[in-house]
Assembly symmetry: C2
Homo-oligomer: 355 residues x 2
């Protein structure tokens, strides 16, 4: 098992690939054991979702995602002076909640692809997507509460709070789809709920399991929350200008889904000729019957207008701004220097990633 | 507020209407306050589901169900020597989980009516049914965990276990729909998961919040589990032979839904000419294209065959058998005589109810 090197005292020295790999390697066996507890056919459906088997049930070495959350949960335990192992149930619980939300969101949003594969509702039907999502959510609480400690109860409470925010964010996301205008503030609030809250929980849960007090946990959550906002700003950039080969999504993915992401709302709020022209086009698109047959060029035109109106640059700056707040929050907690360096390195990674 | 009379030392003396009303009266304000925490539009959708408002948002005095679970949760606290108030967060959490499962099950099963009204997915769409179900589940944990005590953590763990069983039961229910034959044992296991587990939790959660040890809680759960099986056996009888005016369901409701409920599986397992004829008819029904246009008479024929094969009588006996096991389990716990009398009276009520 690759282990973080205590000599990595500055972010530049941290091997980010090894750090993410450590989180994945240490948490995946426990995650798989938890999922194996599900009654058939839910165990199989969940295993398909996690990429451990293909649609025919054959073992598969699927893309399990970047595994930022498990890495954070283990570092979280170390930040409180506990062993990384202390954070494992937290890492597993957060991954279970994250994947519960993916299963349900994909169904609600009608998304047919995730991580280069058909989504669960597409392969196994809507009922299984609902049911297995529910089961993963319940399992998340189970994995924590069976520890039977007071700290496990505190950790579960934080996870529950984060889950409620996740659900609030999805409710906002759905309601914004039907609205013509969404403000930058509303978009940031929604992204804070959908992405910030669970990353915040990932960064506090290991510490809480390691006995950290609430103030320490809250400060770590501030880092995680702003890291989440930086993460989502970058995601929004990749959703329009990302390389399809790297992201596994279509070109102009978020534009095809009419997503009111940060670059779009910032461009619409900016004013000026490009902003106005973009507003007219998107308003017409909302009523258009042949939006689905739009050419690459038509999306390229919209992307260019977003950029011209300043939406791309504003979102890049926002990612850097949230990154700075996140890193600054770390000053509020005493922790080993190499753990701090790794948390900073993870924040750096989040804003420069290409997928 | 009607309160249970400590002089009611035998089940025959218990005013069951007052007992159910007490559970409802004491828990509903806390339940409403919890639901009010949901962000719009989820608060409105949930309020519609609970029958507090109608589809247009006007206040409504809907049928909130029998409220057996809240009554049990308050008695549960009293069984452990605590005040009924101690059980309130447990009553609310159990109701939230119960209603989370109703919201999701109605969508998965395509049920358009519940308690004489259109279901949430029918009125507000599938996405809201998923989302609000998720929110109620999260809220259930929140209501317990914010108590911040060790016992609240224990109670949440029991609720999580019950929820996992609920989900297992729904998974079994769905898989049985696609199977030609289901054994009586499989049907009982499914009903134990779908109905027994949460009733069991309702009867232990108040005691746990009142500081009862695990052995006491487990014994109370045994009562609740068998009460649940008795409850479900009666439900299965009402699902075929119930009075539509009382149940709020169509005539032959479960037969119309091709439900493999206890009377059906017992009749199919019984052997003999009526059992065989029933098996042939149901096998043909499963392949029939005009099942939906079947007349009252065609369902009446099937119901008569189930009765002739002994499915109705077997299920009635099963209800009485489970009732007896439930009541017997109460002997394993020391509790005030009037609380025991009320638990017995609730068990009696469950098997004689008409709705």
């Amino acid at each position: 098992m690759p282990s973080a090197n205590p000599a990595d005292d500055t972010a530049a020295d941290v091997d980010i690939v090894a750090l993410l790999e450590r989180g994945r390697t240490m948490s995946t066996p426990v995650l798989r054991a938890a999922v194996d507890r599900l009654a058939p056919p839910m165990d199989t459906v969940a295993a398909y979702h996690f990429g451990w088997i293909d649609a025919e049930g054959r073992p598969s070495d699927g893309d399990g995602g970047k595994a930022v959350r498990p890495a954070l949960a283990l570092l979280s335990a170390e930040a409180a002076g506990a062993s990384p192992e202390t954070g494992i149930p937290g890492a597993v619980a957060v991954e279970l909640v994250h994947n519960f939300s993916l299963l349900h969101d994909d169904l609600m949003d009608g998304d047919e692809q995730r991580r280069h594969r058909d989504t669960v509702w597409k392969v196994h039907g809507p009922a299984q997507a609902i049911l297995v999502g529910d089961a993963l959510f319940a399992l998340a609480n189970e994995v924590l509460l069976e520890l039977g400690t007071v700290d496990a109860g505190r950790a579960t409470r934080r996870l529950t709070t984060a889950t409620r925010k996740l659900i609030d964010g999805q409710a906002q996301d759905i309601s914004y789809e039907h609205r013509e205008r969404v403000t930058v503030e509303e978009c940031l609030e929604m992204e804070g709920n959908k992405t910030g809250a669970l990353l915040a929980c990932a960064v506090s849960i290991g510490a809480v399991l390691g006995g950290a007090d609430d103030r320490t946990a809250d400060t770590l959550e501030a880092y995680g929350y702003h890291l989440g906002l930086a993460f989502q700003a970058v995601d929004d950039l990749l959703g329009i200008w990302g390389d399809p080969v790297a992201t596994g999504k279509q070109t102009w993915s978020d534009l095809r889904q009419r997503k009111k992401s940060l670059p779009v709302v910032a461009a619409l709020a900016a004013g000026g000729p490009a902003s106005q022209r973009l507003g007219e086009l998107l308003a017409a698109d909302a009523k258009s019957n042949d939006f689905d047959s739009f050419s690459e060029e038509e999306f390229a035109t919209r992307a260019a207008l977003i950029e011209e109106a300043g939406g791309r640059e504003w979102t890049s700056q926002e990612a850097r701004r949230q990154h700075a707040i996140a890193v600054d929050a770390l000053n509020g907690v005493e922790m080993p220097a190499h753990v701090r360096a790794q948390l900073v390195a993870l924040a750096d990674f989040v804003v420069v990633r290409k997928r």
